[in-house]
Each structure stands twice: as structure tokens, then as C-alpha cells.
Symmetry: C2
Subunit: 202 residues, 2 copies
DNA sequence: TAAAAAATTGCGGGCCCCGCACATTTGCGG
DNA sequence: CCGCAAATGTGCGGGGCCCGCAATTTTTTA
């Protein structure tokens, strides 16, 4: 990867990180595109060269994580499908590598509360879900690749992808709803296990 | 219901129908809020008293259908859970009661093609998914009511709701992707059956 | 090092959405 | 049947988002 692409990726990350941080701190509609651009050190106009909306910039990190699940499922063709899926999901969502990779936030309490407010924002929920749907398509393709299904004609890979993203969303929502009484990893494994086993019996 | 509420419901329906029709005919970004308001016979300002965005107006009919599924699941407490779910879903989505209830479109070919373009619109996909998520919460509540689960603490009702909406979305997407070779009702029953049975085996 | 390709920026404009105040309509009790 | 309170519709104005376009700066390539 040349210097050019690396800089682009950096700007992408800087913008999306700034968008998330400011939104968590102040709330969605108290952050102007201008603020985000300034925090990332680019002009306001440049912001929209990278993201087509403020919401998209915020959802970008979520999209990225979900897409990595698809990639990992593709790579792990050695183990059984559902082991690969569960493993990939846990890797991306369990220890919340996010929090570690970035400048750790001073007040963790305030931060998670801000996140709660953020994900409740209607405008963002739509964009988050859209990110999930985009990733879902990739996961479906990865599954079809592994199982030999036809991505166009067969329902199975799409059902799997949809169920996986549904389980992930449900687990995360539960985690945010209850106060982290149960570790996310357990919620994720539980949810995925129940999906594979079938939901007919409570 | 008084005359007041009935008029409100009428305006709601008129606006959302106009929004859908114009969007299908011309494409999302060639329809201005002004156009929709005019087609519904109200002022542009009034539009935003009913819907907080153009996309929301278009997704409203989808939301309505999904919410009716939740209602019906609540009502049908006589039969087993999954029978109630499948039945409710089929009732709402199978014969596409939509097309019958409204002034039938002249050129059905052109219409479905327009719908295909419409649902591909990024701005709308987010809003559609958001509608699905809203309905999902209601369905989860309905399921919890029936099974005696705790809506806050238990994962099961949320998993069921998520899987159901996922199945519906997947089936509809499949229907739009392939050219109606298989009836929607069959796709829906198939998808739901596979969900309940478990997805572990292709 | 010069030319080509690509990214950033400023400007201008269209549109969306909302708050506010005012007009209009509706429901209700006398 | 009537007038009044409450709810709804409307016009105006503004803030903000997003994009097309063209000029400018930066990076790559020859």
C-alpha cells in the first residue's frame, strides 16, 4: 500500500473517530460537520469526500468491525462453519478491542452513558442498521463460498448471515440495556448457540 | 374514534402513499417534499408535522405492516407461538394486500421495477431497517407476553423477534432479487421454518 | 525535474427540517 | 345552537447538511 492510500485510511479513521468522540461527548445534534472536520484537521468540504453524511462517519467503525467478521469467516475455512462464525464474532466484539486500540477515555462511566445516548439517536440507528446490512451481504457471500451454495438462488447463506447479525445486534442491545452484569462474550456465544440450535423451544 | 383522529390518519396515509408513489415513479431524489405535500393536499410545512423526514414517510407503510404482525401475534394466543408468528407474517406479507387495497397501478411491470430501485436507495434502506427494528421491539414484547419471559432480562424474546424480522427481510430480498419465480408465501414459510428448526445444517 | 494524476479546498446553491407565531378548524359544555 | 378552549394547519425565517464545480496543492510517475 502506497503512501497515498495510507494517508487516506488515516484521514478516514481520524474523521470517524472524531465524529464518534464528539457525538458521545456532546450529543448528535450538537456536533456540526465543521467541528468534526476541525478535530480531524481537514476542511469541512473534505469531510464529505470521505463520508456522505455525518451519520455514516459515526457508523463507519461499526461497519468496519462487521466487515472483518466476514473476512475472518472466509479465511477460517479449516474449522466447521459455525465455529468459524462464533470465533470471528467473538474476536471482533468480545473484549471490545476498540477501547484498547484508541486513546483510553478518562471517564469510562460517562463514556458508556454517552454511547447509550448515541445509539438511541434515531438518525444513527438507521445508519448502524445499514452498516449491519452491508456486512450481512458480505457474510452471506462468505458462507456461500464455504458451503458451495448459490448466492443468488439459495436462501441458506442469507438466512445464516441475517441470523448472525441479528444475534450480534441482540446481544449488544442486551448488554447496553442491562448494566454489563453479564460479559458480552457470554451473550454472544449464547445468542449464536441458540440460533444454530433452533428457536422453537423457549 | 372522533373525526379529528380519522382526519389525521387520512392525512398520514395520503402523505405516505403520495411519497411512495412519486418515489417509485421518479426516483427518490427527484421528489421534493413540496411535491409530496401538494399531492396530498397539504402545505409543505404540514408534511413535517407528520413525518420527521421524507424517508420516514416512505417507510411508514412498511412500519405499519410490521407492527400489525406484532399485534396479531399478541391476539392469537390460542395457537402455538410459531404457528401464530408464521400465520401473522403470511397474512401481512403474502398476497401483498397492499397492491389490492390501493388504486391498482396501471403498469405493474414498471411499478415493481420502480420499487426495486426505491428499496436500493441507501437513504431509504436505513429507514426501512429502522422501521423493522421498531417492529422488532414490539414483537419481542408480544413474545415475552406469551411465553412469560422477562423482556428486560431474557434474551429469548429478542432473539425470536430478531430472527423473525430477519427471515422476513431475507425472504423479501430474495423475492426482489429473483424474478418472482417462487411465491413470496413459500419463501416466508421456508425461511421461518428453517429459523425455528435451527441453522446448523445447510 | 517536469508532467500527470489525485486529493484538498472554497464557493455557491438547493433542499431539508424545525421553531415560532398566527390562522383555522374541531370538539364540547352550556 | 353558540362560543370557547384545544388541537391542527400554515407562512416565515433560519440553520445546517450535502453536493457540483473549478481552482489549488500534493503525490506519483516518467
Amino acid at each position: 500500500m502506497g503512501l497515498r492510500e495510507r494517508k487516506k485510511a488515516q484521514t478516514h479513521a481520524a474523521l470517524s473517530w472524531a465524529a464518534v468522540r464528539l457525538t458521545v461527548e456532546r450529543g448528535f445534534d450538537k456536533v456540526k460537520v465543521e467541528d468534526i472536520a476541525e478535530a480531524a484537521g481537514v476542511s469541512p468540504r473534505t469531510f464529505n469526500n470521505y463520508f456522505s453524511s455525518k451519520a455514516e462517519a459515526i457508523a463507519f467503525r461499526h461497519l468496519d468491525r462487521c466487515l472483518r467478521v466476514a473476512d475472518e469467516v472466509r479465511e477460517r475455512s479449516g474449522e466447521p462453519l459455525w465455529d468459524a462464525i462464533t470465533g470471528s464474532v467473538l474476536r471482533q466484539f468480545a473484549p471490545d478491542a476498540e477501547a484498547i486500540a484508541h486513546p483510553p477515555v478518562a471517564d469510562a462511566e460517562r463514556w458508556t452513558e454517552g454511547v447509550r445516548v448515541m445509539v438511541a439517536e434515531p438518525a444513527l440507528r438507521g445508519e448502524m442498521l445499514r452498516a449491519g446490512a452491508t456486512a450481512e451481504a458480505e457474510i452471506a457471500a462468505a458462507v456461500a463460498e464455504r458451503t458451495g451454495n448459490d448466492l443468488e438462488q439459495d436462501l441458506y447463506p442469507h438466512l445464516v448471515a441475517s441470523a448472525v447479525m441479528g444475534a450480534v445486534n441482540t446481544a449488544i442491545a442486551h448488554h447496553l440495556r442491562t448494566d454489563a452484569a453479564v460479559p458480552v462474550s457470554r451473550l454472544l456465544t449464547d445468542a449464536l448457540a441458540r440460533i444454530t440450535a433452533g428457536l422453537s423451544t423457549p
